[in-house]
């Protein structure tokens, strides 16, 4: 009804600020991910994880995947992570418990991490990445198209996910239930 009249996302202005915003969001994501690893307090880890997820959501916004970004915030930041925090708070006896790692564990972890990072960098550098046109993205980023695709092309995965959630719920209910 209003499609022809409406002002869409202001792509011109977005293009001007996008590189700057990209750097900010990427920095937030990477720095908080790093902080998750080196932090020793589990609640702080959860908080850094929140920033990581938020940064990723920001990157999604920059890629015009608004729905995905919102879902990222709702499901991960608002749902999963808050349950993690909830669980941590309920289970840890001392709220400021520290997770200590051994020196050798740290060394092994750093070594493996660097190895993996190098592998990824080399792999990325040697692979020609096919550029997807931005038009294709812009065309399909309204939720109407997304909904139609999800219920036609990806109908089976969608429904199977529903069944999976049912089964998971039964399993979780069984695990949590107390029987005399």
């Amino acid at each position: 009804m209003f499609t022809t009249l409406a002002a869409g996302t202001d792509s011109e202005s977005l293009a001007q600020v996008a590189p700057f915003l990209y750097l900010i969001f990427a920095a937030i994501t990477i720095l908080s991910a790093w902080m998750i690893v080196i932090s020793q307090n589990i609640v702080r880890m959860a908080m850094y994880l929140l920033f990581t997820l938020g940064g990723v959501a920001g990157l999604y916004f920059l890629m015009s995947a608004e729905f995905l970004a919102a879902i990222q915030l709702i499901v991960y930041a608002g749902g999963t992570l808050i349950l993690i925090v909830f669980g941590v708070m309920l289970t840890s006896k001392n709220p400021f418990i520290r997770l200590q790692t051994m020196l050798w564990e740290r060394c092994v972890a750093i070594g493996l991490g660097l190895l993996l990072a190098m592998l990824m960098v080399i792999a990325l550098a040697n692979t020609p990445i096919k550029q997807t046109g931005t038009e294709a993205v812009a065309q399909n980023h309204d939720i109407h198209t997304l909904a139609i695709t999800m219920l036609s092309k990806y109908l089976v995965p969608f429904e199977v996910a529903a069944v999976l959630l049912l089964v998971v719920m039964i399993g979780a209910a069984y695990m949590a239930r107390r029987r005399a």
């Binding site: 990445i129 089976v156 996910a161 069944v163 999976l164 089964v167 039964i170």
Partner: protein, 536 residues
Amino acid sequence: MLLSDPQWLPQLMADLKLVMPELWLVVTMCLVLIVPFIRKGNVILPVFVTIFGLLMALLASQGVHLDSIDTARQGLVFSNSLAIDPFSSLFKTLLMIFAMLVVVQWTLFGRDNTHALDAPDFLCLLLGATFGMSLMASANNLIMIFIATESASIPSYALAGFRKKNKISTEGSLKYVLFGSVSSALMLYGMSMLYGVSGSLQLSHIAGTINSQGMTPLMVVGLVGMLGGFAFKLSAVPMHFWCPDVFEGAPTEVTTFLSVASKGAAICMLARVIQNFGTIVYNEEILTGIALGVGALGAVTATWGNLVALHQSNLKRLLAYSSISHAGYMIMGCAVLLLVDPKLILSALLFYVLVYMFMNLGAFTVAAVLERHLGTLDIADYAGLFKKSPTLASLLIVFMLSLFGMPGLGGFMGKFLLGAGMIKAGTLGTVLVGILLLNTVFSLWYYLRPAYFMIFVDEQEDKTLPVIAPLRPAIWTILGVCCVMLFWTGLLPAVGTDIAEDNGQMIVASAKRAQDTNSQHTSNVNEPIAKADAHR
């Protein structure tokens, strides 16, 4: 768009007919959940409902032949999400039969350790896992592979920890969850690489990308990551640590179920992925490379499983490592799928799964009986068992020998067919067959250990075995069926191999189709269905 397409609903209905087994499983799951509202605390009613549902799923999975499938669509239903072909249908048939037997086994043993009100939960989780596994056998794109693996895994985590009060069970379950989530993450990471490189979720499109771009490093990383996820389900070697702990801790019927069904489904999935690559990729070098990688995984898994099994004294752990090595054999079989006539290997794999199902069911049932009546799973404690209950002991020996691959028993025919297929794959195949033979010889040692203790070691003075009370006829029936099936497939393999050969066909979207749909990927979401209609 889709909804304005008049062919939409008939198409959907036609596709739904092909996934009837899965639909039956879901319906049964809901029914089992509703039953407690009618008869609270009744165990037998949900069991009957479950068996009825599995039976219906079994019947629904019949009758899929290549000629009965619409050739224009090639049995690739729901926009290529699922491939319904003879291979997956036969696996589904076996899976349903096996699930029924496991339900019977649970009714005979596990029920006593379960609160009556928890019975529907158990059955529901079992059905959920079966649902996931039957989807794994047909999964044809990355999303389906991932989500089917998860719907097979997550109920399994709960099933493995079903004895909540038992510490070993809980530990096993926790290890299973941790390993499972890490490997899921690995698989997803790999898949994201594959999607990034190829821009498509379809296996055939990804294979097509290899044709057009070559084997880029990112593609290698993606494939290795995905293989890592598969390795977890198969308990292949770097990802096998959960296997013995889960098998030891979980209720025996769950162990039986996981040892066969989950591995069989994962093998089907691996075979389908490899078959897609084998059909579409035409560069021999790349194919050999993939075969080498998968073959190495299989060889290491088989050897490692056998070597560690040599040290096991617990019957269930021994069987766990034995199942690791069997998974290794099957992976080795999958590896050569790229290089030889796929029909040969696919039918050999199906036959192997068929035989393996009965071997493991029998062995674990005996283990359950022994655990229940003797209160121990330590092999050394079974000294002198042969004199006390010769039938049970000889049955266990038969199952063990079949697992080893004694000629005349089913296990031998399975290995023989697999080896016969592998040997045709040139040098790599010959090396793999050599590893298979060497492993088989090694494994004799530990498969015969229980027999040695039962027959040749006398009962110790201080540790007298309690008398095994007369077993229920149903247990004897299960054991008898397994034993008969093993002799039958071993001595008269023709029937089994015929069935397997008839069904050793797998559908792969052709490369041309893949390219067609790939080019119009973004423009029309409903391309495959619309194309199919044009064909008519």
